[in-house]
């Protein structure tokens, strides 16, 4: 049985549909991430999941029991807030102990367990008496996690807690969070707008779009086999071509009239018009282009961005800009102004029936 299950859950605000017939199930011990752009309904989702909002229709089940109407304080789940919501008038220890204090756990026992959870969250025991207002951003994050773990929840929810933290610290905390999840075996449900963040930590990801689930899958599935143009665009910048079938099993680029070769089963059966997407790292340049390339475009490099070990080129071909990304090599001769040919292998393209949303 799934730990948490949603069955056709809707949430309306007057006429506005924030969440639209969402069904999904989350397994015990899973790191599950709900990701989507702002306005996709993910915040409404988490508010319903923790019990701060009620679904308009549908059912939320925890271990097979409907919990739609159970308020947040009676649910065996806990949330790390976007603002963290650490109680500013209390010490680190008092924050971590608060749930136990509410349950009436005696002081020495509370303290002993608080120390345990400080340890799990990578905080020294000496922080027990430190006022939370004197903690740094990363430390506050850890206090919030320790406080939530001390509640011993069945599920721990996170509402974009890392969004206000600088890049380097965020990368450290992402890994710590994943380590904590693995070490404690708890079920984590994480909300973020950053697919990159989702990729690092999650066992499975649900991509949301306009209140609906666009795709659910492992990070690898989402990355390698996006099921819609939206998901592939959400992953990062891509090269898109508006195409239609030419009747001979190939596609025609509507803009240039050029024929594009595809692998047979990549094209949806009844495609009338659609979008063909190629990732920048699947774009090939010059000598790399194999004999059976899907298509070859001639253009000129207009920009070059160094991304650490990789390099991204912006290539202008027939008034359109394309992105090509590759591992940097010592013998790279291409630079801004170089005339180049770009292309891709038929198997590296994804074709989606629907137009871009």
């Amino acid at each position: 049985m799934a730990l948490l299950e949603l069955r056709k859950v809707d949430k309306f605000f007057d006429d506005f549909v924030a969440v639209d017939r969402v069904s999904l199930s989350i397994e015990e011990g899973e790191f599950f991430t709900i990701v989507g752009p702002s306005g996709s309904g993910k915040t409404t989702m988490i508010r319903m999941l923790v019990g701060m909002d009620k679904p308009t229709n549908g059912e939320i089940l925890l271990r097979g029991k409907v919990i739609n109407d159970v308020p947040a304080n009676l649910r065996p789940t806990c949330m790390v807030f976007q603002s963290l919501a650490l109680f500013p008038h209390m010490s680190v220890g008092a924050n971590v102990e608060y749930s136990m204090k509410c349950k009436g756990v005696p002081k020495p026992e509370r303290r002993r367990r608080a120390m345990h959870f400080l340890g799990i969250a990578h905080l020294p025991e000496s922080y027990y008496d430190k006022p939370v207002t004197q903690c740094s951003g990363g430390e506050r994050q850890r206090v919030a996690i320790a406080r939530a773990l001390a509640f011993d929840p069945e599920i721990l929810f996170f509402d974009e807690p890392l969004s206000a933290i600088d890049y380097r610290l965020r990368k450290v905390l992402e890994r710590e969070l994943k380590d904590i999840q693995r070490a404690t075996g708890k079920t984590f449900v994480y909300i973020t707008h950053s697919l990159e963040e989702a990729m690092v930590m999650s066992d499975r990801i649900a991509v949301m779009q306009k209140g609906r689930i666009a795709q659910i899958g492992t990070p690898h599935e989402i990355y390698r086999s996006p099921t819609s143009h939206f998901v592939s665009e959400f992953m990062g910048e891509v090269n898109s071509f508006t195409v239609r079938p030419d009747g001979d099993g190939r596609l025609v680029d509507l803009k240039s009239g050029r024929t594009i070769i595809t692998v047979p089963d990549a094209t949806p059966a009844d495609l009338k018009s659609g979008v063909l997407v190629v990732r920048p790292e699947d774009m090939l340049m010059g000598r790399q282009i194999p004999a059976g390339a899907a298509c070859v475009l001639a253009g000129r490099i207009v920009n070059e961005y160094v991304l650490g070990s990789r390099v991204q080129y912006q290539v202008k071909a027939e008034e359109d800009l394309y992105l090509v990304e590759k591992i940097r090599a010592a013998d790279d001769t291409e630079t801004v102004g170089s005339e180049v040919e770009i292309g891709w292998k038929p198997a590296d393209a994804r074709i989606f029936a629907e137009p871009m949303q």
């Binding site: 949330m79 500013p88 010490s91 608060y98």
Partner: protein, 274 residues
Amino acid sequence: MADIHPLTRRLLWLFFAVVSIALYLPMLVTALASLSRSRFFIFPVSRYSWKWYEDTLASQQIEQAAITSLIVAVMVALISVVLAFFGALAFARYDWKGRKSFQYLVLLPIFFPQAVLGLAVQLWLNTIGVEMSWHSTVFGQLVWIAPIATLVVAIQVFGYEPAFEDAARDLGATRWQAMRDITLPLLWPGIFSGFLFALLLSWSNFPFAYYTSGADVTIPEWLHAKMIGGYTPMVPAVGTLSIIAGAAVLVGGFSIAAFVKAILARKAARQRPA
């Protein structure tokens, strides 16, 4: 402050001096007038004396007025702060249908001239047949002071993040536990300021007392009566004592707050492991 031009700095000091004089000179003159031996205030004071203070402290009339004023002020402050706490939550914390109208309704009495409001309360109490005494003064002053206290507490509530309460509830706190452990302590500075503010506003309030206290006399009423007929330097003497009492309440109030905070900090420190 190092980058300020010397001339700017001098002008700032001058401005500070002018404002200070404008604010405090009247009080100083009042104090001087109360120390003058002669019955009428003539400047400069030719002979100083404590006589009027001795008379003031000996006067049973003034003692009675002070007690009445104090009782009224404490009652008004206590009731105001309770109303203000819940009013401020409705004003600034919770999103509900009538909130905008409520905000206007709360603010309205503050913009009414107090004399008109006092008269209105008097007419209304007369109509329903309430006998005027300090009880009705408490009621009358609440009409004006409770909204002000609500505003003072509301300022604190606006800065209060609702997520704190949500987080407490999410961690299993009941509504009462969340109120006791989170909301009240975090709003405490506003509540305490609201209480002191209400206390001082009531202590020095004349219009409501004038219209609604019946036979009971408060300090501002006594001052007013004496100024209309029968001025003696006891008037500035009482005025000066009243200012000193007000200042004492403020200083005392915040000292108590600081003291309590220090005690709590020491208590927390004692719980630390050896």
